[in-house]
């Protein structure tokens, strides 16, 4: 059976559910407000994690709880970092743009042009960040398609270009 490819929206929804589950877990186990045995209130951890456990707790347990809380917070931090690294900090050019260029650019300059964009990409990431680099990559691909497609239309005529496009998509 063919493997079902998840759309970006589905992957995003899945990630949101996972983050919500993490938050819920932390909220359940590690409250941000704790009432000590003598009745005084202790707040620790960002409110983001917190619930509101109001039951008295011994000082000794509080130390253990704080330690566990720290470990859990580190785990959560690591989770977010990994999530970001996988999704946003990848040094690879956007595959969709590459595919678009592969499909629509005339074959004469396609490989050289895509190679140039791929070679330039890490430099743009280092200078402007991943988001802008991806945007710039798309921008270059779209403008290049427009310019080179216009030239192809001038050369072969619109009909010739459409035929060539269909042939390329079909192959």
């Amino acid at each position: 059976m063919a493997k079902k490819v998840k759309s970006k929206a589905q992957r995003l929804a899945e990630k949101r559910r996972e983050v919500a589950r993490h938050r819920h877990e932390v909220k359940e186990v590690f409250p941000s407000v704790i009432v000590r045995a003598d009745g005084s209130r202790v707040e620790f951890g960002p409110k983001f994690y917190g619930g509101g456990q109001q039951e008295p707790i011994a000082d000794a347990d509080l130390v253990d709880l704080a330690r566990t809380f720290e470990i859990k917070a580190q785990e959560l931090e690591r989770y977010y970092m990994t999530h970001n690294l996988e999704e946003d900090l990848s040094n690879e050019p956007p595959k969709n743009a590459e595919y678009l260029a592969q499909l629509l650019l005339p074959s004469a300059n396609r490989e050289a042009l895509l190679g140039d964009l791929v070679e330039e990409y890490p430099g743009v990431v280092a200078k402007y960040g991943v988001r802008r680099a991806k945007f710039s990559f798309y921008l270059h691909v779209v403008f290049s398609i427009l310019v080179l497609a216009r030239n192809a239309v001038v050369k072969w005529g619109l009909f010739g270009w459409v035929v060539e496009l269909i042939r390329r998509i079909g192959s």
Partner: protein
């Protein structure tokens, strides 16, 4: 019929030819694009560079050769360009035209009245 029409260089064509001359043997897409963008201070798509180079190649002003594929380019080859004699001549003519017009233009730029 009269004389054969001389082909005049466009703005981008002239800039790209000058960039090719500056870069020498390392003239392929990335350095050409960077040189042109730095010189003009404008966004120029890499496709426009290739379209112009195509035009110049058809006119016989430049020639191209395909290099070896490299890993940093995702296994894709570089396309190197070189200015030919006709390209040099076209640049020289463009420069001559500019010089012929320049004195009046320079005087205006320095604040004189036309």
């Amino acid at each position: 019929m009269g004389k054969q029409k001389k082909e005049l260089l466009g703005e981008l064509e002239e800039i790209i030819l000058l960039a090719l001359m500056k870069l020498g043997s390392e003239s392929y897409g990335v350095p050409i694009h960077q040189t042109v963008e730095e010189a003009t201070g404008r966004f120029i798509s890499i496709g426009s560079i290739y379209a112009t180079l195509d035009r110049l190649e058809r006119s016989g002003f430049v020639s191209s050769r395909i290099g070896d594929p490299t890993a940093e380019r995702g296994g894709r080859a570089k396309k190197f360009f070189k200015v030919e004699g006709a390209g040099m001549l076209a640049l020289k003519e463009a420069e001559q035209i500019r010089r012929a017009i320049a004195p009046r233009r320079r005087w205006q730029l320095e604040g004189g009245r036309a």
